[in-house]
């Protein structure tokens, strides 16, 4: 996949999540407090590419994960978000029987 294609995919993802479970941003820019959060984002995008699952499907898992894992006191919004994000990656793969 070319860089341009990936950029479009990331923009699509951003738009798809904007309603309900938007990527953490500050002043318009994506926020990553720590490198692992960027890796987590990358895992999500790569998993969708690999499984062919839709953004909508991922968004559903993410919304559930966020409900189950609210932001803890003393933890940043981005930390909470990307922790739930990893839950969503696992849930999506589990649903598709890919983690067995």
């Amino acid at each position: 996949m070319s860089t341009a294609d990936r950029a479009v995919r990331l923009a699509d993802l951003d738009a798809a999540l904007a309603r309900g479970v938007p990527l953490p941003r500050d002043n318009g820019e994506l926020v990553f407090d720590e490198p692992w959060q960027g890796r987590a984002l990358g895992m999500g995008v790569a998993i969708l590419d690999h499984t062919g699952a839709s953004w909508a499907e991922f968004r559903r898992h993410l919304a559930i994960a966020i409900r189950h894992r609210p932001q803890h006191p003393g933890e940043s919004a981005a930390t909470a978000y990307y922790a739930a994000w990893m839950d969503a990656v696992e849930a999506l793969l589990a649903e598709r029987g890919r983690l067995a």
Partner: protein, 208 residues
Amino acid sequence: VSTEDGHDHHHPRPDSQVALRARALEALLAEKGLVAADAIDAVVELYERDVGPQNGAKVVARAWTDPAFRERLLENGTKAIAELGFVGAQGDNVVAVANTPTVHNVVVCTLCSCYPWPVLGLPPTWYKSPPYRARMVAEPRAVLREFGVELPDEVEVRVWDSSAEVRYLVVPMRPAGTDGLPEDALRALVTRDCMIGTAVPSAPESTL
């Protein structure tokens, strides 16, 4: 670079649980053949370009065009960078080191992958690789040559070992022939690698 010899070199705060989990998940995905590390790298690289090195490039371009800012930057990197709105986690100190005609600076983290991510985004994969970490200290000139940076013998190479407390940002020399360029055009010349020290910026072809 030992922590046992009483020399105060602090390496990473222990990774948080959630960071460890991210690493474990990535390893699991790789093991199951679901995702290759380079697919994740590719995504990371995308927004690195968006949010990461661009910040550092703004800092460098400002330093090139504003001598007073440059002075503040070299005096107290964290504070000067904060003037531009880039702030990291508490306790992260960014030290800016300037290249000169006689000194070339390059950054490594020998024990892990400490990196000034508020200004540079996420580290490239090679930065975290054991060969880079070991060889940049042992034979910096050879490694720099592999990156395409040829330095004359009289140029001293200074290798800065990052830690959890101190992250280094290389301020490259402004390329010759860029006197007429405005700050935003200068930014485009400053790549991530220039600010790690594994590249040097060059003037855009149209001005040569």
